[in-house]
Symmetry: C2
Subunit: 249 residues, 2 copies
Amino acid sequence: MAEMLNRQGLREALQQTGEAMYHHRHPFHLKMHAGELTRAQLQAWALNRFYYQSIIPIKDSIILSKSYDGAFRLAWRKRIVDHDGDAAHPEKPGGIEKWIQLAVATGLDADYVRSFRGVLPGVRYAVDSYVDLVSKGTLLEAVSSSLTELFAGNLIALRMDAMRQHYPWLVSGLAYFQGRLTQAPEDAAFAFDYAFTHATTPELQQLVVECLRRKCALLWAQLDAIHYSYVEPGNIPPSPGVLQPEVSQ
Amino acid sequence: MAEMLNRQGLREALQQTGEAMYHHRHPFHLKMHAGELTRAQLQAWALNRFYYQSIIPIKDSIILSKSYDGAFRLAWRKRIVDHDGDAAHPEKPGGIEKWIQLAVATGLDADYVRSFRGVLPGVRYAVDSYVDLVSKGTLLEAVSSSLTELFAGNLIALRMDAMRQHYPWLVSGLAYFQGRLTQAPEDAAFAFDYAFTHATTPELQQLVVECLRRKCALLWAQLDAIHYSYVEPGNIPPSPGVLQPEVSQ
């Protein structure tokens, strides 16, 4: 039988899962950070990943809807504000708008990105599975699936350095990552506290780790689809509207 | 504005969609039919595709649940029998059991295949999106998504020839395809009749074609995931349990 982990033990179990399964080790990210991606490949990444960015406030709204605790909702609502922005502060765009800036910096048209028309079906299925996981799971499962934020800070710092070095023309689009450098660790700390407090049996602790695994798998699968379609020629699926790299790139 | 298509016109619109988007043109199938796949790659295909086979009676049960017409349900129920078999005729296994025979012919353990443990996350997301499409759609949309059967007969005939020629050790596993050679055209004719009769406006006819497109896309995405992970080395995702090709193969 599994034993109950203390705070440090649960943190280590999550860390091990992240080291093995988080997408910082995905071949597409390795190419990105080594400066080996073309502008067209970064376009494909920015455009497809925008679909993921766009569902974040949707899944967070589902999470809000699962809690009867106003203090929890107040704290978690921050994530929706971070991504959707605040009408009272139009000078501070939300994360979704900042991701559009990144996509535009790669050379894409903002309205085309917003339309989702160019998104790969495989990316869509992986992202939709996240909404499904959060919809069908308990509040503990839904919160635990956000624990990839434990590892986001390091990846984003590495990515920003790599982008400044290898893709200087992208620098105007880095505001999203700048914001996440502080948001992700704050969010991760809150979610970890919640998971540690509410996973009150060894089985529930295992479930927390399993939800992190599922989330890692769906992040990884998005990059699989992007890598398959845009790194080797001839693999773009025949779905109408899917992004076709420009010949000039 | 779109015009109303006659029976032949709708059939042609579906045919064009299938020619452009059905997975008979997928690079993985082209390699399969050219005899270029290894035994390990055919294992990966049989194991992952089993997840798709396994949800067919689930999506057909959802379709049954959407119809108030007993005659429709009686006709559509045949599909569940085709896949799950009939307790009164244990000598005639259903399609799912026949797919297990195929997987075993590639050298896989039947219980391992049945457990779904080895399935790629990307395949799971694509297949789950089919259940989602059928669950959330109208009966017309759900029926229309089955219209890929219009093209299954040709693909299966081609595949059986290719398997006999290039992978003779697989021949003991071909019973599934033998059955589908007659089932798929019967099912397709019924579904097409239903779609033609119930798509009573140009918009609904366009929706029928759109549902075929969505289905084609999710079949294609399954092969993308299999191709990405098992054709080039180093691309298998780090999800625990995912099929690892045996070194000896």
